[in-house]
């Protein structure tokens, strides 16, 4: 996966299927990844994950070259990857219920 991507995105490892935002990307901005240009619907803050490719439900989400959870929905190139579309595959005590609870009612903005 060698490709050109927006300077506001950071690729931590060549095997990753998500980028990390290094700066705020405002609503309405255009994001370019591998020659595709996408309009950003809602602002993305620094430190969030953006899909580097199209991801199917159940696929592994890779960051730092490591598995950090699985997709729970179809994720398109350029989408924000967060609690709405991925989950932890780790021990339940630390995972979805708590995270969902922590973030319920809160949308990425």
């Amino acid at each position: 996966m060698t490709d050109q991507y927006d300077a506001r995105l950071l690729l931590l490892h060549p095997d990753d299927n998500v980028f990390v935002t290094r700066a705020k990307i405002a609503a309405g901005d255009s994001l370019s990844i591998a020659g595709n240009h996408m309009a950003v619907a809602a602002a993305i803050l620094p430190g969030f994950k953006v899909a580097r490719t199209s991801i199917r439900p159940g696929d592994s989400i890779k960051k730092y070259g490591a598995h950090i959870g699985s997709a729970t929905a179809h994720i398109s190139l350029g989408d924000v990857v967060h609690t709405d579309n991925m989950k932890s595959d780790y021990i339940p005590t630390y995972t979805e219920e708590k995270i969902t609870e922590y973030t319920s009612g809160r949308k990425i903005s």
């Binding site: 070259g65 490591a66 990857v81 595959d89 780790y90 630390y94 809160r106």
Partner: protein, 406 residues
């Protein structure tokens, strides 16, 4: 790089005299002894507890015979439980000058301070005449820790340290990362990097132990602020801390005070064994720094986002800041700005190289920022550990085998 060769073959990048109080009651006297030499590598360490503790004893012995230490002054009140005779013998056997002062027998506070200062003066003069030798990167033992982390730590400073660690390991150096409690969720990945399957099992078990320990204390690691910062899962958060370890194979699992038997990357298990007995495994970052140093680390790379300013007794601490805002606010306290990765002016590889340059600079006698500012924090508290099993250190067998073959 230059340093001092010790009789056990290890090399120090500093030639420090440690003045060690063996109970809190001797702390003031020990501190007063060091004050005239506060900028001349005379450091204060100690254990405050009156009741003996094997872990604390082992730590004090490892620290007093650390490669960066050239001489030792022990300061006892007289009636505490610490085994001062055994410590004095161990330091003496290591070839270092050592003196023990006992406040109750040496005439009280003022008299003991005067005797101590006279001892340090003579010892400093002797140590300052000791010749230096060349130190190779492969002779360095480097530890890493994160503290006061922020959302950027896991994507700038920590992976940049990982790259520096990869370069150091490739040069034959020994690198140590730690805090299994912050690595919950990474055990599968860590296990896949272990050089033997038996070590992989031990790593997995050590993280399970940390998970149980923190659960008993009522501490989950994933907090609401983490999700607000863009982190989605426990394993993702842990990966941010784990990124400091780089991508080398993991050569062993050690516990506080264990000396890595070879070059390579080692995981330090800082969570006590057995039932939860003495509270938090480490009450603040400096307790972990002291444990890394007790494992022989001659210098420590410390990543921070919010802006930790600490240093340490015995081994210099290099600060890597995760973001430019904090870096600019605390520039005097920071050695490397990894925030340049977010600014888009440096890549992770470039910051990794800057960290490596800072390591070489400090190992050549250059002062790190915290060292220059006089930071010499030190914490040692009660803990208990079982020794590591043979599966934790596969390279000690390889080393022994190689030695036998020579």
């Amino acid at each position: 790089m230059k340093g001092w060769e010790r009789p056990d073959g290890r090399k120090g990048i500093r030639n420090v005299i440690v003045v060690a109080y063996l109970v809190e009651c001797a702390h003031h006297v020990a501190r007063e002894i060091t004050i005239p030499w506060r900028d001349q590598d005379v450091h204060l360490i100690g254990f405050p507890g009156c009741y003996a503790n094997q872990y604390a004893y082992n730590m004090m012995e490892r620290l007093s015979t650390h490669p960066n230490v050239g001489g030792v002054v022990l300061v006892s009140l007289g009636c505490e439980g610490f085994n001062k005779r055994s410590l004095q013998r161990a330091v003496s056997a290591s070839g270092r000058p050592v003196e023990t002062l006992i406040i109750q027998g040496d005439g009280g506070t003022r008299s003991t301070i005067e005797k101590g200062r006279a001892i340090v003066e003579k010892m400093r003069a002797v140590l300052d005449e000791q010749p230096t030798v060349h130190v190779d990167l492969s002779e360095l033992v480097v530890g890493t820790i994160c503290g006061g982390s922020d959302g950027a730590s896991g994507i700038t400073a920590n992976p940049a340290v990982g790259r520096a660690f990869d370069s150091l390991v490739a040069e034959g150096a020994t690198c140590v990362f730690e805090e299994t409690g912050e690595l919950i969720g990474c055990e599968g990945h860590m296990a896949s990097r272990a050089i033997t399957v038996e070590l992989a099992d031990e790593i997995t078990r050590s993280v399970g132990k940390a998970a149980r320990y923190y659960e008993t204390l009522g501490h989950g690691s994933f907090a609401p602020g983490n999700a607000e910062g863009g982190l989605t899962t426990q394993e993702e958060k842990s990966m941010g801390a784990y990124a400091k370890s780089g991508s080398s194979q993991i050569s062993g699992l050690i516990k506080p005070g264990d000396q890595p038997p070879s070059g390579g990357l080692f995981l330090l298990d800082v969570v006590p064994d057995g039932e939860v007995r003495f509270g938090f495994p480490n009450i603040a970052d400096n307790a972990e720094i002291v444990e890394l140093i007790a494992c022989g680390c001659q210098l420590i790379i410390f990543t921070t986002g919010r802006g930790s300013v600490v240093g340490s007794a015995i081994s210099p601490v290099i600060k890597v800041c995760s973001n430019s805002d904090t870096y600019n606010r605390l520039a005097e306290d920071m050695d490397v700005n990894a925030g340049t990765v977010l600014d888009g002016t440096r890549t992770l590889d470039e910051v990794g190289k800057e960290i490596l340059d800072a390591v070489t600079f400090v190992a050549s006698g250059g002062k790190s920022r915290s060292e220059e500012l006089g930071h010499q924090e030190f914490i040692l508290t009660y803990k208990s550990f079982e020794p590591v099993g043979p599966a934790c250190l596969p390279t000690s067998r390889i080393t022994a085998h190689h030695k036998a073959a020579e």
